[in-house]
């Protein structure tokens, strides 16, 4: 084991430790949410995850972005097989470890596929950058897409381009070294793409080629380790969380909203003619839950998982009728705010800092919440079935049931329903009058 192997091992372990620590923090943040049972129907849940996350079934509803994304997704999953080889080579000092255990045909097939995918990913990333920065597609420039979310998206794309370039240049140099009969570079491999990069290095001496090959090799693996850690502070977390989010997704019809159990108990008690109105609550009874959500930790853990899974693509906001007609509401912003707020709550807790903010008011205003028509365009549009609508509804519940802060017209509607059994002010006795009109 040489010095470079020791350095590799050290950096690699450091990256893994850092990654694990920060991932655990996010998981802990998600667990700050209230409980909700999503362990039912495991078969349907697996099926949903396979179809939507692994199968990308909702991505292609927007064909251009969808197909480009599938290329990135396949590239990411498949090219990462190469990382296994890089890690083994890095630790043991071997060269192209997989070629020593795989049949030649298979190894050639793998490296060949990696190269083709790498160039496709590279092209897809360039197109994505053009869409975001030159064509300036509207949903990438709406109000909540401030400097950081836009930079975040661009950084990821530039990162990918650099990683793929490093991979192809590495193979190009390696191929030339093999052709030159260098004793360390003894593996022949299929190079359908990188052979066209070799022209850049023609006439280079062996030492330079080795430097180029080593540099790009290190750049590639360090880049991957950095990227892995960057993902945790970025919108790009969906590459991991899209899977649990689709597994734990709402499988009921979109129109079916949850019935609050705490309310059911109270209403049953109210309607029970035998209930004692003067009964004192049992000494050991818990205080009733707060109705609805005021802050991010009043939401359930699936909603918080959703918030961390959002990649800010904006398909929800783009299809939201309220947003489309200039209202403040943006379902994407609801998820982004939820994520930022739960992170803030947990950071403040860890640092022992006083926290006087809340999701409602400081991040999301009542005006945004009241603009929602509950039409489900956002939940339907989301490629990984995130549910911003449930967050909006939970916050409306808080506004109405804890603060009595509904708009005046809605309060009048409630009064009418209570008194006349209809949202308008008509006497209940007239309900069948239509029959004789």
């Amino acid at each position: 084991m040489g010095i470079s192997n020791i350095i590799f091992l050290f950096v690699f372990l450091l990256a893994i430790i850092f990654f694990t620590r920060n991932l655990n923090r996010i998981i802990k943040n998600i667990k700050l949410g209230r409980d909700i049972n999503r362990s039912d129907r495991p078969y349907d849940r697996w099926k949903n995850m396979f179809r939507v996350a692994i199968g990308q079934s909702k991505m292609t509803r927007r064909p251009v972005a969808g197909i480009l994304h599938i290329i990135l997704y396949l590239g990411f999953v498949i090219i990462n097989i190469e990382v296994i080889e890089i890690i083994v080579d890095g630790v043991s000092g071997s060269h192209r470890f997989l070629s020593s255990i795989l049949p030649v045909v298979l190894y050639n097939f793998l490296i060949g596929s990696f190269e083709i995918l790498a160039i496709l990913v590279l092209v897809a990333c360039v197109i994505f950058l053009v869409r975001r920065n030159i064509i300036r597609i509207k949903r990438f420039w709406s109000k909540e897409m401030t400097t950081w979310p836009r930079t975040d998206a661009n950084l990821i794309l530039v990162f990918e381009i650099l990683l793929m370039s490093a991979f192809l240049i590495m193979n190009a140099a390696d191929g030339l070294l093999f052709a030159a009969g260098n004793p360390h570079y003894v593996t022949s491999f299929s190079n359908p793409i990188s052979q066209y990069f070799q022209f850049m290095f023609i006439g280079f001496d062996v030492a330079t080629l080795v430097t180029i090959e080593r540099f790009t090799w290190w750049f590639h693996i360090l880049g991957i380790l950095m990227f892995m850690n960057y993902v945790l502070i970025s919108k790009h977390l969906h590459i991991f969380f899209a899977f649990p989010s689709t597994y734990f997704a709402n499988l009921n019809p979109l129109g079916q909203f949850s019935n609050l159990d705490s309310v059911t108990n109270e209403v049953k008690l109210m309607m029970d003619p035998n209930a004692d109105p003067y009964a004192v609550p049992a000494a050991d009874s818990l205080p009733p839950d707060q109705f609805g959500a005021k802050d991010a930790n009043d939401l359930n853990w699936v909603q918080l998982l959703n918030a961390y899974s959002c990649t800010e693509c904006g398909r929800c906001t783009d299809s939201c009728p309220a947003n489309h007609t200039g209202k403040l509401l943006s379902p994407r912003k609801v998820l982004m705010d939820t994520r930022d707020r739960i992170t803030e709550i947990s950071d403040n807790k860890r640092k022992g800092k006083e926290d006087t903010k809340s999701l409602l008011g400081d991040y999301i205003t009542a005006e945004e919440l009241w603009a929602c028509t509950s039409c489900n365009a956002c939940t339907d549009a989301c490629p990984i079935e995130l549910d911003p609508l449930s967050i909006i509804m939970d916050m409306r519940r808080y506004l109405v049931m804890e603060q009595s802060a509904a708009p005046t017209e809605l309060n009048m509607m409630f009064t009418n329903v209570e008194n006349n059994g209809a949202p308008w002010q008509f006497p209940a006795a007239d309900r069948l009058n239509w029959k004789d009109e």
């Binding site: 309310v263 309607m271 028509t373 809605l410 949202p423 006795a429």
Partner: protein, 258 residues
């Protein structure tokens, strides 16, 4: 107007009989002048097909949908439990309704509170009658240009897209689709209790946006299957280009042609 045969569930009970189906009229269908016409049209269809149905009449109360969507879960569950008590008292098994909001909440949200019913939207019900040959279309709307606006609580919320279209096509009319149709349908602006309040500040009202889309197809009729959508689109046509198209419920189109 032709005589409608309508009996309440209470009347059925006093005669010692049971209705096969409960027609849930809904608050809009009972009180809103425009929606009442839809209610009567649907009753005419059921009378024509000789359906043994009853209504709750004064025993019906708001389904609680608008209370629930505005966050008043208390009021919703009070309404739901009262309605369930009444319906279970009449041993209701099947419900048909002309309101997608009632449809959604009765079908999906009542079951968790003790109300288990087979619930159909009137367009599903009419499609079934047509398929079984219980309803004969006599009129013909050939050459009439119609576009159909999918109500959110029927379409996206419950995946009913085909039956309303099947029923419309049975009339021989020319169905033209808006670009945002079915799953991609654009809300009329009334859902989530918006029907009962002014919209928030913005650049445009939602119903205007949708009406402009519908009118760009130069239809004779904008068809829908929801009393709220009907109101929003009717208002929309009035402000965008009054008289450019009629807004009608599918039940009305069928009732006029049987």
């Amino acid at each position: 107007m032709s005589e409608l045969k309508i009996k309440t569930m209470a009347q059925f009970m006093s005669e010692g009989k049971e209705a096969d189906i409960l027609f849930w009229v809904g608050s809009a269908g009972s009180f809103d002048d425009r929606a009442k016409k839809i209610t009567r049209a649907f009753v005419r269809i059921m009378n024509k097909a000789d359906i043994n149905f009853g209504v709750l009449g004064t025993e019906e109360s708001s389904s609680g949908d608008s209370a629930k969507r505005s966050g008043n879960e208390f009021l919703f569950q009070m309404q739901a439990m009262m309605n369930i008590e009444v319906m279970n008292g009449y041993n209701v098994k099947r419900i048909v309704t002309t309101c997608p909001h009632s449809y959604n909440t009765l079908k999906n949200e009542y079951k968790g509170l003790g109300g288990n019913y087979k619930v159909q939207h009137h367009t599903e019900f009419i499609a079934e009658l047509l398929a079984k040959g219980k309803l004969k279309i006599t009129g013909n709307l050939k050459g009439t240009r119609v576009t159909y606006h999918d109500p959110c609580y029927l379409g996206r919320a419950n995946n009913v897209y085909d039956d309303p279209r099947k029923v419309l096509k049975s009339l021989g009319l020319d169905l033209v689709e808006m670009k945002r149709n079915k799953r991609k349908s654009f809300c009329c602006g009334a859902g989530g209790a918006q029907m009962f309040k002014d919209p928030e500040n913005g650049s445009q009202d939602i119903n205007i946006n949708r009406t402009e889309e519908a009118l760009s197809l130069t239809p004779d009729i904008i068809a829908t299957g929801c009393p709220f959508c009907n109101t929003m689109m009717t208002d929309g046509v009035k402000s965008v280009n009054e008289g450019a198209a009629e807004v009608k419920d599918i039940a009305e189109l069928i009732a006029e042609n049987i």
